[in-house]
Symmetry: C2
Subunit: 327 residues, 2 copies
Amino acid sequence: MHNRGEVAESTKRKIREIIKELDYQPNIFASTLASKKSALFATLLPQPPSVEGYWNKPFIGVKRRILELKQYGVQIQPFTFNQTDSKSFVTETKKVLKLKPEGVVFAPFFKKESISFIQELNENKIPFVFIDSEINDAGQLSYIGQDSYQSGLVSGKLLDLILPEGNILIIHFAKEMDNQNHLVQREKGFYEWFDKKEEPNHQLFTTEVENTQNDEWMVKVREKIISQNIKGIFVTNSKVFFVGKLIEKLGFSNIRVIGHDLLKENKEYLKKDIVQFLICQRPEEQGYNAINKLFKNVVQKRVIAKKNYTSIDIVTKENVDYYKEFK
Amino acid sequence: MHNRGEVAESTKRKIREIIKELDYQPNIFASTLASKKSALFATLLPQPPSVEGYWNKPFIGVKRRILELKQYGVQIQPFTFNQTDSKSFVTETKKVLKLKPEGVVFAPFFKKESISFIQELNENKIPFVFIDSEINDAGQLSYIGQDSYQSGLVSGKLLDLILPEGNILIIHFAKEMDNQNHLVQREKGFYEWFDKKEEPNHQLFTTEVENTQNDEWMVKVREKIISQNIKGIFVTNSKVFFVGKLIEKLGFSNIRVIGHDLLKENKEYLKKDIVQFLICQRPEEQGYNAINKLFKNVVQKRVIAKKNYTSIDIVTKENVDYYKEFK
DNA sequence: CTGAAAGCGCTTACAG
DNA sequence: CTGAAAGCGCTTACAG
């Protein structure tokens, strides 16, 4: 039945008929119990700076699916790198390759460094799934995450909607921002919204904040807010709570703020009405799905979709409590 | 090990220790393969008026979970009733009771009639799960659906946000609206938003449309729009496409519209910018979860959460394409 | 009460 | 090449 050697075509047909007639459905429990397959996967994700950091969330999803798949003999070896240090990323990719896993889930955080990693993965025929940000046509099995450009567009629309007048400051809290593709895309989408407006009534400015160890960055941003008549701020990643802190500390009022992701601190600023909208992307689900796609392809030999865009959730003070991590 | 008769306390302890030591995890495949349990569930949901109707969606989720659970021996008997006829609901409840299923998923659409059904279910000790709308403390195993009051509040906020001036019309496309609790709750939440505003600048009106067979209702609503200076419309259920039709037909401009649920027609009006926001609730997920909760409780004897609120998704032209039915 | 055997529906190594 | 047997890790009816 399952392609064992040569069978006469007529017999094949007969068997298929019987299968159809009886509506035969193989019992997956008996099947997996008897087969005893196994697989080793690796994950390579950013190390969250704290237990409240964004990257804990995808990893929660990863662990959850791995736990479920233990029964199938699937194992995982997690690796993490430092978000502010592209060299640590390279070091870890080498460890991954040395392990020779049967599949890899990773965030192509640093574009340049990711490309050489991908080349090696392809050479070794190790299937891989992108999570969080993507590189087009790199031979990936699948991408799991937001459409960053479109999410930028949504942010633009919403900030425009709540901003009667004044200018807008886009803040990237990141090092090597140009090497981080999804931040670039979010900014692009955001600009696009205002570019296509017929009667532009806001001017846009962009700034990068690389270091938040001390409060120096606040001085600079404050300066910009005042000199450029900033009334709206868009933060391109999950670090919008820094802007919340700035607003609280310096006592600004009437500044509208949009950021990303449901971190605990971000949620607090949402509830305090200092941040008006958070754009969210179900990170636990992403981690869960990334492992699941790998499993379905590698172990179950199924074909899977190349792009798996997560929803672009618009979260406000009023609906935030209904976005929980898994059910 | 699994509570078979009397075992000495000391032996029990020893066994538990060994279990812990080996980190023993029972193999669910072997377990379900050997046990051969089975269960029969019933669902009682509204009959969708067309293949595009809302109630197809929860049922897609129901069928999906049932298909997965076939392996566990779970079977389902679906019943449907006519949304505009509470008597058909009563008729079907009788059929359900006659079947004596081991669990029921149903939408307590008509409050009064549901209460007597619930009484019988409780008497027969048949566990049941509410979907879509809920009745408090009725002995349900769980509720799966939105927090309708809160979702009304979100609608209020959004319509307020995009409405510089003018009045608001709330339309219920429903018969026996007072008997449909979640519509009442949505309206309540919606009003609440405007009630707590410090400087009210919109007046609210409510109307019910019971019959959409012909276009008579349009005449009446048109009259209201003009005489009461209506600039915003909120439709409390998935029938907002009717308002889209009205606006297209009568050529109104500058009316802002908010409604519910991602029906195909609603989506079209969203894309045409005739409807500005749709509040959504992941209906397929709800159907899937409802069956799953029943399964977990009845077959797996697990304890499950009493309230399972779905997220209140804010859907616009820009993010609509990323809300797909299941992944 | 309790130990040991049969069987759940498959897969796979093996003998013929 | 192909049929029949062993075994996956459990549950449960049964004998003692």
